[in-house]
């Protein structure tokens, strides 16, 4: 090789600027974090010193929040499981929830016509749960088969955008099918009123929601840890290719994941409908987004994370506006509760990018 064919580029002697080492990003984020926390603390201090809220009121707010959070928790588990296995956000999970509610609604109407809802509430709730689960599972599996499976190896944005499209499509399909007016969901009269537990009066519907949600989380934890299907799910979550080399049928595991996510969504849908007495085509969107936020907040892919994220979100939405804003004399504090939802999300992700229960390690090169 002849010399001089390649001209040796002059080597610039770059030097490190004075501010080069200044951790700009961390500083910005720290400042934001401190500002938000300080603002919240100041608001809380003012609210408490105003003293408009009684202790009973705070207690009630927390209980309402926990009940709402339990529903978020159930939906969030569906997001989390799919994410864990496929690394994709099933944006349409809220619609899976909505179809579950409609499925059970039509059954509930029949039961109500025969007076069963009030004469044997436990049996009818069980039937409704099954109906809700069947419907949600059917939609979830169909969704996976038609919209997601062909895209399993596509770049990550592709299935996410598909999921957003599917969400919009399903939502408006339900609107076309069932009309856009919300429909009243028949609820057993015995579900009204409250029980006193440990000296605290708690709405019966709230108690049922919390109990069912905790049971489902426990069952799911057991399922994933102990059963064969659960173990293969974890294997697929670790590495799809290796799992399939190990003789695991990846397609089957993915379908199972959607089935379980759908079942949880179906249960959540029936609980939601029983608590609020309404079903409608847009009912899935907001709980879906909130549950999705809860899942990310807790650490997506983790069962405990979804549970914790759901609870935090529920309580924050319930208590937050009253606690942080009343004292600052901000009008219409409850209007601003979504600001809390997403602010806490940003804060958590700044300091723990993997969510509360997630791992914060950067990806390895």
């Amino acid at each position: 090789m002849a010399d001089g064919t390649t001209e040796v580029a002059p080597k610039p002697t770059a030097t490190v600027g004075r501010l080069a080492r200044f951790p700009l990003r961390k500083t910005i984020q720290l400042v934001i974090g401190i500002a938000v926390v300080a603002g919240a603390a100041w608001g809380a201090y003012r609210t408490i010193s105003l003293g408009t809220f009684t202790g009973a009121a705070w207690r009630d707010l927390v209980v309402f929040g926990v009940a709402q959070g339990a529903i978020y928790m159930l939906i969030a588990l569906g997001y989390s499981m799919v994410y864990g296995v496929l690394r994709m956000i099933n944006f349409a999970h809220g619609e899976v929830f909505m179809f579950g509610a409609f499925g059970s609604y039509f059954v509930a109407r029949v039961l109500n016509d025969h007076g069963l809802i009030n004469s044997s509430p436990v049996l009818s709730i069980a039937i409704l749960m099954i109906a809700g689960m069947v419907c949600s599972v059917a939609v979830a599996v169909l969704l996976e088969r038609v919209a997601y499976r062909p895209l399993r190896n596509a770049p990550r944005l592709v299935p996410l955008i598909t999921a957003i499209g599917a969400s919009l499509f399903l939502q408006n399909t339900a609107r076309g099918f069932f009309g856009d007016q919300d429909r009243g969901y028949p609820t057993p009269d015995s579900l009204g009123g409250s029980w006193t537990i440990l000296g605290i009066p708690i709405l019966r519907s709230s108690v049922i929601v919390i109990v069912v949600a905790v049971t489902m989380v426990a069952a799911l934890t057991w399922f994933v840890a102990r059963t064969k299907t659960g173990k293969s799910m974890r294997a697929v979550a670790e590495d799809k290719d290796i799992a399939s080399l190990m003789g695991i049928n990846v397609d089957r595991v993915v379908v199972m994941t959607f089935v379980i996510g759908g079942m949880l969504a179906g249960v959540a849908a029936v609980l939601f409908a029983l608590v609020f007495g309404l079903v409608g085509p847009f009912m899935g969107f907001v709980p879906g987004i909130k549950a999705f936020t809860a899942a990310v907040l807790g650490g997506i892919g983790s069962i405990a994370g979804a549970a914790i994220g759901g609870l935090i979100l529920g309580v924050l939405e319930s208590v937050g506006p009253a606690l942080f804003l009343t004292g600052l004399k901000i009008p219409g504090p409850n209007q601003l509760k979504d600001v809390f939802t997403f602010t806490i999300l940003v804060l958590v992700l700044i300091f723990r990018p993997g969510g509360i229960m997630g791992t914060g390690e950067p990806e390895k090169v």
Partner: protein, 446 residues
């Protein structure tokens, strides 16, 4: 074959348009005519001229799709019945106006600014549109459709806009008018009811971020505080369809801390029903009365709220009592049921009146030309509508005032519903309170 393309396409298009132009000049055009006092060629905004036998074109700009379709379609049916009644009878066959059939061009206001803009532009761009009945939602009209159409001299008359701002003197567009009642009246009556009849001095309000609800709670606050009451808490929420939550318990608990005697929530369903239901679950709200408005007052409220609807006060503006004695209202209701089924919103009669008020004015100013065509000067038509006085409409005796409110003195009923199962307490039953006032009365005191 080098470059046939562009030239050929352009040539073909040019030829086509020439053909079209050759066929032109059959309709539209100047119209020439214009006898009498008005010269169509010089008067501002000119005249609309319809050839002999050609239909008079009327636009509607109503919310005919989506979740608010019930509101817009209901008004559209009211307009259709008005056309039916042009011949003096409800027989399902359209009548004629000044010797011409009437053709409707139905546009959708989408209950939004964008819808008002698109639909308004479309109607404003059609020089053969005589006037427009619309919009359904105040936000579609305010500063959007009223201006777009007004700039072309086209009347926009609304059957269901209730926002006070539309006819506020500094915002009113000269070609805008409405037959729906101004929210100021309802807010005033509700305030009178709460303060005088119930004797309450502390109330809280909740609005749903819609201009309608925010207008009513704002108006209520003004009137109630003038009377000497206190608004203890003003809350708001995002509707479920708009991305809000179904859980109102935290919000209601917050309100309970300010110890109101009544909560006023002039919103829509399902939120009204949810608020009524969940308020029953809050122990600290025991004894606190609930009050909704005509937005809540629909059959869905009773379906969804169930037993929780018991004891909720609901206001409902109705046509003034004198109107129904003519028997026309009964005929109208029968025809509506016959042709379109159940009435889905309370504004069909207002739509009927809206069309008729303008139609009556058309009869006054239309110029019959010698060739059988008819010319209608736009400004004269507007002026004629504003001169409407004591017109016997379905909703009462209408008088138009200079800011565009063409309304009868309005009665607002306030009913309380003890149980959804008791038929006498269904909406439309005997009110426990009613007050009839005019807009001037309401505004004069406010």
């Amino acid at each position: 074959m080098r470059r046939p393309s562009w030239f050929a396409v352009v040539t073909v298009l040019g030829a086509l348009s020439l053909v079209a132009a050759g066929c032109a000049k059959e309709e539209g055009g100047g119209g020439g005519g214009g006898g009498g006092a008005v010269d169509c060629n010089t008067v501002e905004f000119g005249c609309v001229t319809y050839a002999a036998g050609a239909p008079i074109r009327v636009g509607t700009l109503l919310a005919i799709s989506g979740s608010v379709a019930t509101l817009g379609l209901d008004s559209q049916h009211g307009v259709s019945l008005a056309i039916d009644y042009l011949d003096g009878k409800f027989d399902g066959k359209p009548g004629q106006l000044v010797g011409h059939p009437v053709q409707l061009d139905n546009e959708d206001d989408l209950c939004s600014k964008q819808g008002g803009q698109t639909g308004g532009t479309k109607l404003a761009s059609d020089p053969t549109i005589l006037f427009v009945v619309g919009t359904s939602c105040s936000s579609s009209a305010l500063g959007v459709a009223d201006k777009l159409l007004g700039d072309k001299g086209i009347i926009l008359i609304s059957p269901s806009n209730t926002a006070a701002g539309l006819t506020a003197p500094d915002q009113h567009n000269p070609f805008y008018m409405r037959t729906a009642q101004n929210d100021a009246i309802q807010a005033k009556v509700v305030s009178d009811f709460v303060y005088t009849k119930l004797g309450f001095t502390k109330a809280a309000t909740i609005h749903d971020e819609s201009p309608y609800a925010a207008g009513l709670t704002g108006g209520f606050k003004t009137f109630f505080e003038q009377a000497g009451g206190t608004v203890t808490d003003e809350e708001a929420f995002t509707t479920i369809a708009g991305g809000g939550s179904s859980d109102f318990k935290p919000l209601l608990t917050s309100i309970a801390q300010t110890k109101p005697q009544l909560i006023y929530f002039p919103d829509f369903n399902p939120e009204c029903a949810l608020i009524a239901k969940q308020a029953a679950d809050i122990p600290q709200l025991k004894g606190v009365k609930l009050m909704g408005s005509d937005g809540c007052n629909a059959s869905t409220f009773f379906d969804q709220a169930g037993a929780a609807a018991n004891g909720v006060y609901l206001s409902s503006p109705i046509p003034s009592p004198g109107a129904s004695t003519s028997g026309l209202l009964d005929q109208f209701n029968a025809a509506y049921k016959d042709q379109f089924g159940k009435q889905t919103a309370p504004f069909n009669a207002n739509a009927f009146d809206a069309f008729n008020v303008v139609a009556a004015a058309v009869k006054k100013v239309a110029i019959e030309n010698s060739d059988g065509s008819v010319s209608i000067p736009r400004v004269a038509l507007k002026d004629a509508v504003f001169q409407t006085k004591d017109y016997a409409g379905l909703t009462g005796t209408l008088t138009c005032i200079s800011t565009g409110d063409c309304q009868a003195p309005l009665a607002v009923n306030i009913g309380v519903y003890l149980s959804p199962d008791v038929p006498t307490n269904k909406p439309g039953s005997e009110p426990i309170f009613n007050e009839t006032i005019t807009l001037e009365d309401a505004l004069g005191s406010g």
